[in-house]
């Protein structure tokens, strides 16, 4: 059982290592429910506080306690915050996985392990640091429960010593993590110090990995995408939230509830300017959002793939009755229940056309925590502008992992409430027809209950421009064609792609969402190591805008990088693009349930380009065995 998708390495003679500064990955392998999260976040945060770019990725089981969990912290002086597949420094505390965790390390890696696991004999090409965790914790407390909780701080202390992570930063990070829990703080500090002292007294540094202070994180924040999205939703003025618990989405509404409680109460009365309803299922959650959106509220829900499947029926109603709604899909690995705690970009195709009949939905594609924040706000504007459900396609990697970012900026644009009829507009357009295309952009005017303007009867059945029931062929087709026109309008107001064109006629890459970070790194690898330059277009929304056509026209061949088996975005591109552009497309896919990494993209792309001597691609075929 291992979480890695790197191959098992044969023992080989180790080269004497030079110092490797601020460019390596630490992996902590523990059992979930053992309280390792505090220790891991303290480790992450203290490196961050030393000014070193860092990212944290939690690979955890769909379980509450007792199954293996891995936390990877990557320090990267050059600022790469995507996943690095190779582990350089392992902390092996889980007897279940320790053996395979060690066998999959590259030669030269270092291992801190719980002494009784006796890992030293497994490999001759690694550096081993055995630590008697139970003996050390025995000197701090005899309370069994406390021992279990603070035991993990010992490895933070050991790593502080071995990797030269400043103890003062460790303490500061610990205080930040524990807040005012004085008793817990004291115990954890003691464990931290005991680990440090043990390492100082016992080990001679044999591995090359060190952290040295930098100034690359000044003023920055560390945040999870779901919290960032929650802040965006609050700033977007959400007034109605309905949700059903599901991994990896739940932390979004839960963070939102916390913020709303704090910042969205009437200061005089204590009454709330929002409502949050935990629905009976995702179907009801979207039903409630549609009901609220119909009355004019800024309404949202958040879910993952299985929830999106249930929402199909209401997504179609929202599309056809033209009701604003915002839906976050924190994608996880499917199909079916799949791997609830693993990541993927597997809902792209099904969400774009979610529900029966001729239906299509605009998608927003955030790649960063900053975009989780800004696109949350954009989603509410777009939902009201386009009068239809808008899906924000985040994923587990973005939503639940910790990312560094510049602090979010306060929004400067006021809400865009779309075409809400008012008395002036009514005078201008004459008679109100709820589904009449007055302006030629496919977007009609709408009224809401209680606004004193003409009412209408919303329905999912066939209707004419006056919102009256109709089965007439001309009414039906006029309406479908108008909806199609509206989708064309969407192309002009959705976020545009980010384009970096390096040269005419070369290799192009298209990616979206969290695949971006692997592409950023892969492009540098290909250029630096192989002299291969690439142009890049990062999609930020569907439907696609004209920049995409221009980009493909300027490239000879274009690799579409994504985290699913079936090349889902490429399928959408194939539907939209002309045959001359379609033939330029090639696919790079990653579907291990683990975040895509730069090296896999580099290897896959260069292999497809016919470069010899590269490791066989196939990152999607790695073993995953959490449960």
């Amino acid at each position: 059982m291992s979480v890695t998708d790197a191959a098992v390495h044969e023992a080989a003679t180790r080269e004497p290592a030079a110092r490797i500064v601020n460019d390596f990955a630490i992996q902590v392998a523990t059992v979930n429910g053992s309280g390792s999260q505090t220790a891991n976040l303290v480790l992450l945060r203290s490196i961050f506080q030393m000014g070193v770019p860092v990212s944290g990725k939690n690979m955890f089981p769909s379980n509450i306690a007792g199954l293996p969990t891995w936390y990877t912290i990557r320090a990267s002086a050059r600022g790469y915050i995507g996943r690095k597949k190779e582990v350089d420094f392992l902390v092996a505390l889980n007897p279940e996985t320790a053996r395979e965790d060690v066998l999959t390390l590259a030669p030269g890696a270092a291992v801190v392990y719980d002494e009784p696991l006796k890992l030293r004999d497994l490999r001759g090409d690694l550096v081993f640091y055995p630590v008697p965790f139970d003996k050390i914790i025995g000197t701090i407390t005899h309370d069994a429960k406390l021992r279990r909780l603070v035991r993990n701080m010992i490895y933070d202390g050991v790593l502080s010593r071995l990797l030269a992570i400043d103890m003062g930063q460790m303490e500061k990070a610990l205080r930040k993590q524990l807040g005012r829990k004085q008793k817990a703080l004291e115990m954890n500090m003691a464990a931290l110090k005991a680990g440090y002292d043990y390492a100082q007294a016992t080990f001679t540094k044999q591995d090359p990995f060190v952290i040295e202070p930098m100034n690359k994180t000044t003023g920055m924040i560390l945040i999870e995408g779901n919290a960032a999205a929650a802040i965006g939703c609050m700033m977007a003025g959400v007034t109605f939230v309905a949700w059903y618990p599901i991994t990896p989405s739940s932390s979004l509404p839960e963070a939102l509830i916390d913020y709303l409680k704090k910042y969205r109460r009437d200061p005089d009365t204590g009454k709330t300017t929002y409502a949050v309803v935990q629905a009976e299922d995702e179907l009801a959650a979207l039903g409630m959002v549609i009901g609220a959106g119909w009355t004019g509220a800024r309404a949202m829900t958040s879910t993952a793939g299985p929830g999106v499947s249930l929402m199909a029926e209401f997504a179609g109603l929202g599309y056809y009755a033209e009701v604003p709604a915002v839906i976050f899909d924190i994608q996880r690995a499917g199909p079916s229940t799949g791997l609830p705690t693993r990541t993927g970009q597997q809902d792209i195709l099904s969400t774009a056309v979610l529900s029966h009949g001729d239906t299509n939905h605009p998608l927003l594609l955030p790649a960063s925590v900053a975009e989780c924040y800004t696109m949350a706000m954009e989603a509410f504007d777009l939902a009201e502008q386009l009068q239809q459900p808008i899906f924000v396609m985040s994923d587990l990697d973005l939503g639940m992992n910790t990312w560094m970012a510049e602090p979010f900026e306060y929004p400067t644009r006021p809400f865009n409430r779309g075409k809400r009829l008012d008395k002036a507009a009514l005078a201008r357009i004459g008679q109100f027809g709820r589904y009449k295309d007055v302006d030629g952009d496919g977007i009609p005017y709408r009224t809401v209950p209680g606004d004193g303007l003409p009412p209408y009867f919303a329905r999912g059945s066939g209707h004419n421009e006056q919102a009256l029931y109709s089965e007439r062929a001309d009414d039906y087709m006029r309406n479908l064609d108008r909806l199609s026109r509206k989708f064309q309008t969407a192309k002009t107001i959705m976020p545009r792609p980010e384009v970096e064109l390096v040269e005419e006629g070369g290799i192009g890459i298209i990616a979206y969402g969290t695949s971006h970070w692997a592409v950023v790194e892969a492009r540098d690898q290909m250029k630096g190591e192989y002299g291969v330059t690439t142009s890049y277009l990062r999609l930020r929304a569907y439907p696609f805008s004209k920049e995409l056509d221009d980009f493909i026209d300027r490239c000879d061949r274009v690799y579409v990088v994504e985290q699913n088996r079936d090349a889902q975005m490429m399928s959408l591109l194939r539907i939209d693009l002309t045959p001359a552009r379609v033939i330029k497309l090639r696919s790079i896919r990653h579907y291990a349930g683990l975040p895509i990494d730069g090296r896999s993209v580099t290897t896959d792309l260069l292999t497809q380009e016919g470069k010899e001597g590269l490791e066989t691609p196939g990152s999607g075929l790695g073993t995953v065995g959490a449960d």
Partner: protein, 350 residues
Amino acid sequence: MSTPAQPTPAPGKKINRIGLEPTAYRGSKTTLCAGCGHNAITERIIDAFYELGVDPTQVLKLSGIGCSSKSPAYFLSQSHGFNSVHGRMPSVATGAVVANRKMIAIGVSGDGDTGAIGIGQFVHLMRRNLPMVYIIEDNGCYGLTKGQFSPTADLGSKLKTGVINDLPPIDTCLLAIELGASFVARSFSGDPKQLKAILKAALSHRGTAMIDVLSPCVTFNDHDGSTKSYSYAKDHEEPLADVSFVPFFEEISVDYDPGTTTTVTLHDGSKLVLSKMTEDYNPTDKLRALRLLHETSMRNEFATGILYVEPDKPDFIDLLGLVDEPLAHLDESRTRPGKAALDEIMESFR
């Protein structure tokens, strides 16, 4: 519901207390079968809203899918309406009512829409005690798909094709009481007086008012084998009591003999007066209501009338602690926190 000033009626014109004529409460022409019980219910809904003087622009009409769910188009054309998806009206209503607490919501469902595809949402609507009137137009069959059994079809009842229903029915009133609905009634589309009184009381109640209205399907379920036929319902209806409703703006009539009536004061001050018929019935006694439903069901009878009322139960809006203005109408100044809030949040992530 507010009480506007009494307008001066124009001579010879019938108007209600807010100056509207009955036609202001009508909708488009029905497309249901001639003689359909649902049309009679539509007429009573129009009467109830007219007589109470409810402003139709302050009403939300909602429904699911089926014959029943078409009917909101046939009343209150000045109200916003939403004919949603099959069995899911409760969730749409929940979002709408929470987002605009000022509106009066009326939902029309059917026995399939509620008892089969929508039973899950129905259960949670009752449990939340969302303020709305929820009507089941109950004909024991799927009319729009040509007469298949619904979950309220009685055990042993027979389709035109001869198929016998061998599953017991769901009693939506029993279920609603168990689940927490604070106003539960049953009536019959062919009993205009009782139905109208119940509807008026339901509109004055604050909380979920669930009304199961037996409404024979003249096309598919009005034959001798059916316990939901006109003749069966007429013969086996057992009114609990004579329901009279006195709106808050009218004096209580002195006609009732105090020894044989029960008066329940509803949320808005209206009075529900039940005059004794077969027995004294206290509709605030939950266990008594459940027992009555079981007893009458064993006799293959329908107890009609107001079965259960809990006038002071907190509704879902009360529990949410919302500001007084509709959430849907709050503007940016109320819903986007200032820069200081964002700065404070950002600081917590440094």
